[in-house]
Structure formats: structure tokens, C-alpha cells
């Protein structure tokens, strides 16, 4: 079984992302991830078009938009599941070629999808190490994996789990989300993408997940979070990016936005209160 990720295929971008940014990012350092003119077609259907987005290190970027705005297509493109039809994906200033899930993993991009991709019949340790188990003389090194899992959950302040040997089937929604995020972090991720992490969670579980997101960013990890819940977005995000009908219509620091302007951008693709990056398609 080969789970070793391939070396990502990187070349220096002909244009530095900060020079060509059309996104309004005023960062002096090179963003961790930059998308330049990224489009994705499925036959005649244009799912996303000309997306320019910078995701800085150690910050939480919220990706918001209505259903069908292209958020999921965008994160799947970043995750390498669907290669872009056009445009460039730039990682730490270098263009990524032949982007695939393996190269994304090798770069340090981890995605936690809504279904969390956990195996209910395995315990927490087994889920955390699925696909990258530690072995000793050919046999699984359970003690090493359990110790590391305990330490990671402690580092991330995930304290609600009684035992890492609990079956995942016995965990609550918030605990499951925390385990999925911890697993993403454990893989030396630099960018963690979360797809609707608080959907279907209760109030206290949502609070736990938001705290976890803050912990990630405080550890220098970039977080790109999709959410429909603007309360969550405004409580946790440093930056905001709004998609409308397949285009990224606005993005910038969270302080430039309020709930009303965000709703305007989500529903109409434009707002009189904040600058938009593109004229929304009709």
C-alpha cells in the first residue's frame, strides 16, 4: 500500500501573487495560497469563473455564498479533487502543476468535508491514523499512535473526549468534528479547509468547534471555512470571501464587512458598502 504522497510539482510563478492580486489583499508577505483566474467547467456548465483569492498564513478566511454559488467546487479544486479548467494555483509563491489530492496533501492542504469521512466502527486513534499508521517490526504500534493522539487532542484543547479508544460511533457531532479537524492537523497541514463545520451542531458543540478553529489559527495554521452561519463567520473569521453565481465577488478583512453587507453580497453579488472584485454576472 502506498500512502506516501507524491512530491508536489512546483515551479516559481512568473508573477508574484502579491503583485497580481486582484483581491484587494494588502499583505506584505507572500500568501500561503493564491488562486489566480481559477475557473472550472463541467462540460458546458461553468461552475466557477476567474476566481482570484489569497489565503494568508495563520488566519481564518471564511468563504460564504448562497447554495450553488460555487463554494464546494472551489474547495474541491483547491483540494485537488477537480483540477481547474483555467487559472493558476500558487502555493507559497510557487505555481502548482498537476494538482491532485495527493499533491494537495503533500503541500499541506487538508480538507474536512461535511460528512467528516470517519469510520464509525473504528476508535478515535484508528481514525486519526487511518492511511498513515505507525508500525514497529511490521505490526501496528498502537501505543505510539495512542500517545500521539492524546497529545494532539490536548494541544488542541479538545477535552470533551473521555477516551481516545472510544468508537467514533459513540461520539457527539461536535466531538466528531473535532476529531476530523484534529486528524487534518495531525498531517502537518498548513491549510485546513472546513466545509460547513458547524452545520447540524448544537450551541455548545458549535462553540467547541469555533474555539478549535481559533486554536488552529493561533498555531499558525491557515483555515478556510465554508459557512452559511454569519454569526459563526463574524465570530471566528479574520477575512471574508463572498461567492455569487460562480464568481468571487468580494473579499477582504472581516472589519470591512457587517452582516447586512455580507447578506447583500451573498444574495445579489454586490453591495454599496464594500468594494466588489467583479461585476456579478447577470
Amino acid at each position: 500500500m502506498d500512502t506516501t504522497p507524491e512530491s508536489p510539482n512546483l515551479t516559481a510563478s512568473s508573477r508574484g501573487p502579491s503583485e497580481q492580486s486582484g483581491s484587494g489583499v494588502a499583505s506584505s508577505s507572500v500568501p500561503l495560497l493564491s488562486l489566480r483566474g481559477v475557473s472550472k467547467n463541467f462540460g458546458p456548465v461553468q461552475a466557477i469563473q476567474g476566481v482570484n483569492l489569497d489565503v494568508p498564513d495563520g488566519q481564518v478566511t471564511a468563504l460564504i455564498g448562497d447554495n450553488g454559488a460555487g463554494k464546494s467546487v472551489l474547495i474541491k479544486t483547491i483540494s485537488g479533487i477537480w483540477p481547474p479548467s483555467e487559472g493558476k494555483i500558487i502555493w507559497k509563491g510557487e505555481e502548482v502543476h498537476d494538482h491532485s489530492p495527493r499533491t494537495a496533501t503533500a503541500l499541506g492542504i487538508a480538507t474536512v468535508y461535511q460528512d467528516l469521512a470517519l469510520c464509525d466502527n473504528l476508535d478515535i486513534v484508528q481514525n486519526m491514523y487511518l492511511g498513515r499508521e505507525e508500525t514497529k517490526f511490521g505490526a501496528l504500534d498502537e501505543i505510539k499512535m495512542e500517545l500521539a493522539t492524546n497529545q494532539l487532542l490536548k494541544d488542541l484543547s479538545v477535552s470533551t473526549v473521555k477516551s481516545v479508544r472510544q468508537l467514533v460511533a459513540s461520539l457527539s457531532g461536535g466531538q466528531r468534528q473535532a476529531i476530523a479537524v484534529a486528524r487534518a492537523v495531525m498531517r502537518d497541514s498548513r491549510l485546513v479547509i472546513l466545509d460547513e463545520p458547524t452545520a447540524a451542531l448544537g450551541v455548545s458543540q458549535t462553540r467547541q468547534v469555533l474555539e478549535l478553529i481559533r486554536t488552529l489559527s493561533s498555531r499558525g495554521i491557515a483555515v478556510l471555512v465554508i459557512s452559511h452561519n454569519l454569526n459563526d463567520v463574524f465570530s471566528v473569521a479574520d477575512r471574508i470571501a463572498v461567492m455569487h453565481l460562480g464568481s468571487l465577488v468580494s473579499n477582504g478583512p472581516i472589519s470591512d464587512y457587517d452582516t447586512n453587507s455580507a447578506v447583500e453580497l451573498i444574495t445579489t453579488g454586490q453591495s454599496s458598502r464594500v468594494p466588489t472584485t467583479l461585476a456579478p454576472s447577470s
Binding site: 498513515r132 508500525t135 501496528l140 460511533a169
Partner: protein
């Protein structure tokens, strides 16, 4: 236990209690039931169910099924019987692996069709059940021995009817128990020294004491003279063969990446795929392991029958599935241990053996086994439903 049941994991305790109740019932009805002669007979009867049950568990873990293992395993056994026949005179050293290889290749073929063509294993192995039944009849009848081929080779015959000497029986029991106790204690000490949560010390001691007691009782049973006209002592070879397959199978399932992935695929194959695991490779491997284990079971079957005939054992597959499921393996994938087949196989053999002692007919045996199977599957289904609606 109730908590585990609610999580969809009914565990083995209810099954073991059921086995003890059956044993108690038969012992009350017939005092000969727990005699050493009858118990050894029961263990030997159980070996086939246990081995084929273990074979079935590999694919059941994936959420797949093999409906033909009873036929294909006997086909492998038939190949071994024919090869050692004076007509071909192949050494047992080659003939026995050849028999296992036949069943392994059939398992690999099933796996390829299921994995590559995405055909449900239920259909593929049902087709195999019919087709290989025909092949078995053809192979046996083509030997021109009137539809029955007797075993003409001592090693093959002795797989079931040969015995270890009493000394080796004791050595095997003591060494086996010592290794298991060492592993339990070492695991506990490693966890304690690493600062991990451990079971209470009393629990560890109880486990060790129980292991020693069971080992010594079994050795004593096998050591007792069970012959009527001749002295017959020692453990039948079939028992260490079963134990060997159990140990290897358990090691693969619990201590290797392959076993971990086979378990995980049955729980959520998409999650395993996203974790970067080549899922189809491990699905294929599970079918191959079913073939290997079934092949060994087929050799014991022909040894027990002292030959093979052209009347295919159509119920053998059902007993294999029943042994696995009664023991606690889920029909829906993702949960199963090799030890489940041992307990399930012992239950089926106990029903058979006990009812024969009570002179009950085959009709009653089938009905009771069916009820036990239904009860086991119902417990599994209810547990899963509770787990899903938590």
C-alpha cells in the same frame, strides 16, 4: 454490555452465555455430553464450521459475502484427494497446498469480478456456488470411482483422525497459555509504563487465571483416554490447525495495516479511500484470504469424511455464515473477529452433537440452528438500528 449493545457492538458475552446454557441443557439431559470422548468429538465436528466461519469473516467484514465457500472449499479438498490418489501419486506436500491454491484462486477470481466490474458479491458467489457445484460433480465423477473418492494418504487422513501424543498435547497447551498470558501482561505493562489508561489489575489477573484454567482443562480433556477398545489419547491435529489459523487471522486483523483497512472499509469505504488507501487492493485481499482459509477448511472436510463424493454439501456455506454471525460478526460489514467463528462454530457443533446424543432427528437440528441464527442476526440488526438512531 448494554452500552456496547446500544453502540452496535453486542460483544461476545451473550453468545458465550448462550453456549453455556446449551452445554448445561445437554449435560442435564445426557450425562455423557461432557465426557472427554464426546467433547473431543464435538471439537472435531466444530473445526469445519470454525474454519469456514473464519473464511467467511474476511468478506463479511467488508460488507460482502461468499455464498459458495462450502462448495469451493470441498472442491479444493477434492483436488487434494485426487492428487494423492495412487492414480496420480503426488506427494501430500504438494497436493495439500494445491488444494488450498485452487480455493485461493477462486477467491481471487471473485474478488476481481467484485472489485473491477462492481458486481455484487452476492450474485458473483451465488453464480460460483452453482458453477463450482457442477465442477465438483464433474471432477469427482470423472475419476470413474463411482462418485466417491476415498482418501489414500495418511497425512490427509490424519488431519482429523490423527492425534498429538499426550506429552505434546501438554506442551502445546502450556506453551500456548504461557504465550497468551505473557502477551496480556506485557501489553498491560507497556500501557502502564507509557502512562496510558489501562484495565484494572484485577481484570488482567482474572483474564490470566481464566486462560490458565481453560488451557489446563482442555489439555486434561484431550489427555484422557477416550478409546473403547484401544487407548486413544492426545489432541486431534485438527485443533492446532484451527488454533494456528485463528492466531494468524487475528494477528492480520488486529495488528497489521491490511487488517485495519479491511475493518475500516466495512465501516466507511469512502473515508478509507479519502485517507489515501487503495481500497480495491484490500477488498481483493479479503477475498483471497477467504479462499486460503476456506481451502484449509476443505482439507479438513475431506479428511473428516475420509474422502469426497459427488453429493455436494449444499448446507456447508450456510453453516459457515451462521458460525460467523452467531459468534458476533456483523452481516453488514465493519465488525467481526476471528474468535467469533470459534464461538459460533462451537454453538452449531454443540447443537448437532447434543441433539444427536438425545436422539433428536435432523429436522429438529435444522430448526434449532435456524432459530439461533435468527436470534443472532436480530440482535445485530437491533443493535445497529439503535446505534444509527442515537
Amino acid at each position: 454490555m448494554y452500552k456496547r449493545l446500544r453502540q452496535g457492538d453486542s460483544g461476545m458475552v451473550p453468545v458465550v452465555i448462550g453456549l453455556l446454557l446449551l452445554v448445561t441443557y445437554f449435560q442435564i439431559r445426557n450425562a455423557a455430553f461432557l465426557s472427554s470422548g464426546n467433547l473431543v468429538n464435538l471439537f472435531v465436528q466444530a473445526t469445519i464450521f470454525i474454519l469456514l466461519g473464519m473464511a467467511e469473516i474476511w468478506v463479511l467484514l467488508l460488507g460482502e459475502i461468499d455464498l459458495s465457500i462450502g462448495i469451493t472449499s470441498v472442491l479444493g479438498g477434492a483436488v487434494a484427494v485426487i492428487l494423492v490418489d495412487p492414480q496420480f501419486h503426488v506427494s501430500w506436500f504438494l497436493a495439500l497446498p494445491a488444494g488450498i491454491l485452487v480455493v485461493t484462486l477462486i477467491g481471487a477470481l471473485y474478488g476481481m469480478v467484485v472489485v473491477r466490474l462492481n458486481v455484487p458479491s452476492f450474485i458473483v458467489t451465488l453464480a460460483g456456488f452453482l458453477a463450482f457445484q457442477g465442477v465438483l460433480i464433474y471432477v469427482v465423477d470423472s475419476q470413474g470411482t463411482g462418485g466417491t473418492i476415498p482418501v489414500h494418504e495418511k497425512v490427509l487422513y490424519n488431519l482429523v483422525y490423527g492425534n498429538l501424543t499426550p506429552l505434546w498435547t501438554w506442551i502445546l497447551a502450556i506453551v500456548g497459555v504461557a504465550i497468551m498470558c505473557y502477551r496480556i501482561i506485557k501489553r498491560d505493562m507497556n500501557r502502564r509504563s507509557s502512562g496510558l489508561v489501562t484495565e484494572p489489575m484485577a481484570y488482567v489477573i482474572i483474564k490470566v487465571v481464566l486462560l490458565v484454567a481453560v488451557g489446563l482443562i482442555l489439555a486434561k480433556i484431550f489427555d484422557a483416554n477416550r478409546g473403547t477398545f484401544i487407548v486413544l489419547r492426545g489432541m486431534p491435529f485438527a485443533i492446532p490447525i484451527d488454533i494456528g489459523v485463528l492466531v494468524i487471522g487475528t494477528f492480520i486483523l488486529t495488528r497489521t495495516k491490511a487488517g485495519r483497512y479491511i475493518n475500516a472499509i466495512g465501516g466507511n469505504s469512502e473515508a478509507v479511500r479519502r485517507a489515501g488507501v487503495r481500497v480495491n487492493r484490500y477488498r481483493l485481499l479479503a477475498f483471497i484470504l477467504t479462499g486460503i482459509t476456506g481451502g484449509i477448511g476443505g482439507l479438513l472436510y475431506v479428511s473428516q469424511l475420509n474422502g469426497v463424493n459427488d453429493g455436494p454439501p449444499s448446507t456447508l456455506t450456510l453453516y459457515a455464515i451462521a458460525a460467523a454471525v452467531i459468534g458476533g460478526t456483523s452481516l453488514f460489514g465493519g465488525r467481526g473477529k476471528m474468535i467469533h467463528a470459534v464461538v459460533g462454530g462451537l454453538i452449531i457443533a454443540t447443537i448437532y452433537n447434543g441433539m444427536a446424543l438425545l436422539s433428536m432427528g435432523a429436522s429438529t437440528q435444522y430448526i434449532v440452528t435456524g432459530i439461533v441464527l435468527l436470534a443472532a442476526v436480530t440482535v445485530d440488526s437491533v443493535a445497529r438500528r439503535n446505534s444509527a438512531t442515537r
